[in-house]
């Protein structure tokens, strides 16, 4: 019987934020893409979750939070916005 030995396996994968949703509720861009201000997806344009479990591009929600001073609410559910501890 033939013996197959796999010397090396170079696989291809794609990453995803696994956000249970496709697009950011603020900029309507894909989570796995990047916010309108960014060029590079991934590390350069991360996602952030609120305590209400809604996710946004970090840059998008920061802008929103700054605009909503003093007490920001989640754009989706109107609950007070707090960053979820990871």
């Amino acid at each position: 019987m033939v013996k197959v030995k796999i010397v090396s396996w170079h696989g291809v994968a794609s990453w995803t934020w696994d956000a249970q949703d496709d697009a950011c509720g603020i900029c309507r861009q894909d989570f796995d893409g990047c916010c309108p201000d960014c060029k590079m997806p991934g590390d350069d344009c991360p996602l952030i979750w609120g305590t209400c479990n809604h996710a946004f591009h970090l840059h998008c929600i920061l802008k929103w939070v700054h605009a909503q001073n003093p007490r920001a609410q989640c754009p989706m559910c109107r609950r007070p916005w707090d960053f979820r501890a990871s």
């Binding site: 033939v2 796999i6 291809v12 696994d18």
Partner: protein, 833 residues
């Protein structure tokens, strides 16, 4: 008038006649004719108004004498001299020797004798005129002067009595003289044989300055040679044979020039021909003309003026001859470009002087259709030729008129080819270092073109935008370089549009938009990057930078992300495989996992930015069919990635990537392969059982039979698997080749495999057609049941309308083929036409 006067006149006339009878016209070669013996009578006749009568009578007497006596004598000399090959003699020197003596002898002596006779008679006529007008009554006009009447009579006689061979004879004579001269001229350069090859010829031309070589040649030929030639030419002119002789030497010079151009640079484009030819024109034909043309200072047109006229004519001949030949050869010149640069330069100068642009366009278009734009030519070759054409025509005509006229058919044709865009992208990005189908040289220069033209375009924009300061200066220089539009430019196109002549724009113009090109590049880039195992992207980065210059950052953004992914993958891949990632302490479990992944690598993509990874030609394999140990490693990898990059997760594309594997057979052989995952999965199945029916294997792996067949071929070709018919003759049976002898013994099995390799394409086409048939069979039949009968284009229209999700992607022709198949299966009937 009274009777006595009449008697006197009659007496004078009679005595004139008698004298003329008794002493006829002076024959022979006496140096000075005796004075007219009837001067007194003539004066009387003249004074009585009988001048016209006397002149007419005398002239007709002379005419008779010339017709009967002198001219036959003259023409007789040339009888029997072969003149038919006057022109061909120019070519071969040895043959010339044979009768060159006789021609020259006959012509020189004949002419000398005849002109002596003519001169004597002319002197006589002048005396006659003087005597007639002795009382001071002159002739009203020059034309009435007896000597001019004599000349007219003589030339009429010569022209009418000349034998038909005379023109040829003159031609032969001049061609011999010219041959002598050019031969001596060629020999004038020391140590060089005449008629050498081009290169030496050019050296020689440059070594011996035109006039210097000519005078050297004259010295060797001797003063006598020059004097005789010049005398013959002069005498011909004097005898009113100037027109005939001019025609003769014009022909000779023309033939000589054409012959020279023909032999120079025939099918050889690397050497300039025009400049040496013009130099030679000065040195030989013009010097020759200098001898022949009259140096008479009193002639209305001085020799210099005449020479200048001749020079213009001959130069034009050179431009015209060389130009039309190069025009005919333009296609080959372009094929050889840039080696053929000198030929292009020659043609450019010729065109400048002849304005034969129209002919160039017509002949080149014809050549294109005949030699390039047909199914036999590979798209790559057409594109390469297109690029060279752009370069050459741009050199020929910077205004771009030629190019605008020629590029249309090329672009139209290329548009109709399917693989054009792929070829363009390959040419653009292949810089010759990477392996690839396209020839290195063309690709290399195109990549450079990408850089240079991109910059040029940017400069252009700046110039347009910048109105003040430096911009104004730039505009000034541009204004000075402005050239008027060529006369034969197409008025429909503005000069502005013609200015855009850089190669990339032309290539893009084939499709009219750059999006197609960018997308194709993306697909190609994806293919290349996914095939990489070493994460090296320097070359692609360089290309991308150039493309960004050309197409703008936004258009190339996806590609930029793709390259970033590869770069990041390298880093992440290392991190994932190192125990104690994220600066945490390495737990034993951690070390264990890292060790497991030693033979694992991964390329991690930002999927949104990549072209669709699945779809036509990219077969899916289910992760369930992966070998268990591989699947486990993938899972470990993914979980470690998740730890590293939380909350991000990995999604594997098991059909992509590369696998390196060793196969060890029962007879101890070991073979190493680099294959795709699907290949690997297939062969792994043979570890479980040595024989698989094709259908079973396909079901197990959950791939279609066509895909399986497609992949198995690789193993069959490497002699790892054997393809046979199963015992019941139904399905194909694949079995492991464990012993090499097994393979040699069963050629039959092997031949199926290799044949399949050839038929691979057909097989998948067939598969595709089967799918089409199933898909359209019911649709079309439903349609036809309702409508009875429909034309193909109407069916096509319906299908387009009904397929809301773009699932219908056939052209009318393809639909036609599908329907034809249905007809063959007796499912449909076709009527009419």
């Amino acid at each position: 008038m009274d009777i006595t006067a009449l008697a006197v006149v009659e007496g004078a006339w009679n005595s004139y006649l008698s004298v003329l009878d008794s002493e006829p016209l002076p024959v022979g070669t006496g140096s000075q004719p005796s004075p007219l013996p009837f001067g007194a009578e003539l004066a009387l006749l003249g004074s009585r108004g009988q001048t016209e009568l006397v002149v007419a009578h005398y002239t007709s007497t002379l005419e008779k004498a010339f017709r009967r006596h002198y001219l036959p004598q003259f023409w007789q000399r040339f009888e029997g001299i072969e003149t038919e090959n006057a022109n061909t003699h120019i070519q071969s020197e040895d043959e010339l020797i044979t009768d060159r003596g006789s021609v020259e002898e006959a012509l020189a002596h004949g002419l000398q004798e005849l002109s002596a006779t003519v001169q004597r008679h002319e002197a006589r006529v002048n005396e006659l005129a003087a005597a007639l007008s002795g009382n001071g009554m002159g002739f009203v006009s020059d034309r009435e002067h007896p000597s001019s009447q004599f000349r007219t009579m003589l030339s009429a006689l010569l022209v009418t009595t000349a034998p038909s061979t005379f023109a040829g004879l003159l031609q032969l004579y001049f061609s011999q003289r010219l041959q002598d001269f050019s031969h001596k001229f060629n020999n004038a350069a020391p140590g060089e044989a005449p008629q050498t090859n081009e290169e030496e010829d050019v050296d020689r031309m440059e070594g011996v300055e035109g006039a210097g070589g000519a005078s050297l040649a004259l010295q060797t030929l001797g003063l006598e040679w020059e004097r005789r030639l010049s005398a013959v030419a002069q005498q011909l002119r004097d005898l009113a044979l100037g027109a005939v002789s001019e025609e003769a030497y014009t022909n000779v010079l023309k033939a000589k020039i054409e012959a020279r151009l023909r032999q120079e640079g025939a099918n050889c484009f690397e050497v300039p021909v025009l400049a040496p030819a013009l130099k030679w024109l000065q040195a030989v034909p013009m010097a020759f003309l200098r001898i022949i043309l009259p140096e008479d200072p009193q002639s209305p047109v001085g020799q210099d003026t005449q020479l200048i006229q001749w020079q213009c004519r001959l130069q034009w001949l050179v431009y015209e001859t060389l130009g039309s030949r190069r025009t005919a050869e333009l296609f080959d010149i372009i094929v050889d470009y840039p080696e053929s640069g000198p030929a292009v330069e020659d043609l450019q100068q010729c065109l400048q002087n002849t304005n034969h642009h129209k002919q160039v366009v017509a002949s080149f278009r014809a050549a294109l259709h005949r030699r390039l734009l047909h199914p036999g030519a590979a798209t790559n070759d057409i594109l390469t030729q297109f690029v060279s054409t752009i370069r050459v025509l741009r050199a020929l005509d910077p205004a771009g008129v030629l190019l605008a006229a020629v590029r249309g058919p090329l672009q139209r044709y290329l548009r109709a080819r399917k693989d054009t865009i792929r070829c363009i992208v390959t040419m653009l990005t292949d810089d010759g270092t990477g392996g690839g189908g396209v020839g290195g040289a063309g690709g290399e220069s195109l990549l450079e073109e990408l850089g240079s033209s991109g910059k040029a375009e940017m400069d252009d924009c700046e110039g347009d935008l910048d109105v003040s300061g430096d911009g104004a200066q730039v505009d000034d220089t541009a204004a000075e370089e402005w050239m008027p539009e060529a006369v034969d430019a197409e008025p429909r196109r503005t000069s502005r549009s013609r200015w855009v002549t850089d190669i990339i724009s032309m290539l893009i113009a084939i499709y009219g938009s750059k999006e197609l090109l960018v997308n194709e590049y993306r697909a190609l880039l994806a293919e290349r990057l996914l095939a990489k195992e070493d994460y090296a992207t320097e070359r692609e980065l360089r290309t991308l930078e150039l493309l960004k210059l050309r197409f703008g950052e936004t258009n190339m953004h996806n590609c930029e992300v793709m390259l970033r992914d590869i770069k990041d993958s390298k880093r992440v891949n290392e991190n994932v495989k190192t125990p104690g990632m994220n600066g945490a302490l390495a737990t034993p479990d951690d070390v264990q996992q890292a060790k497991q992944l030693k033979d694992m690598d991964a390329t991690i993509l930002s999927e949104l930015f990549w072209p669709s990874l699945t779809g036509a030609g990219k077969e899916e394999i289910l992760s369930t069919s992966l070998p268990e140990k591989v699947q486990k490693k993938l899972d470990v990898y993914a979980s470690r990635y998740h730890t590293l990059k939380a909350p991000r997760k990995l999604k594997w594309h098991p059909q992509l990537g590369t696998v390196k594997m060793d196969l060890t057979f029962d007879d101890g052989r070991t073979m190493t392969f680099d294959v795709s995952p699907l290949h690997a999965v297939i062969i792994c199945k043979f570890e479980e059982q040595p024989e698989w029916l094709a259908g079973d294997l396909a079901t197990t792996l959950q791939v279609s039979a066509a895909v399986l067949r497609n992949k198995v071929v690789l193993w069959v070709n490497h002699g790892v698997l054997m393809e046979t018919r199963s015992a019941d003759g139904g399905d194909v049976l694949y079995s492991m080749v464990e012993y090499r002898e097994q393979l040699n013994g069963s050629d039959a099995g092997r031949s199926i495999g290799s044949q399949d390799d050839v038929d691979l394409r057909d097989a998948s086409d067939e598969e595709q057609r089967q799918r089409d048939l199933v898909k359209y069979d019911s649709l079309v039949r439903g349609l036809l049941t309702n409508y009875g009968a429909l034309r193909v284009d109407r069916i096509h229209g319906f299908l387009v309308m009904m397929a809301s999700d773009n699932s219908y992607d056939k052209t009318v022709e393809q639909l036609d083929a599908v329907l034809a198949h249905l007809v063959r299966e007796n499912k449909l009937a076709v009527d009419g036409e």
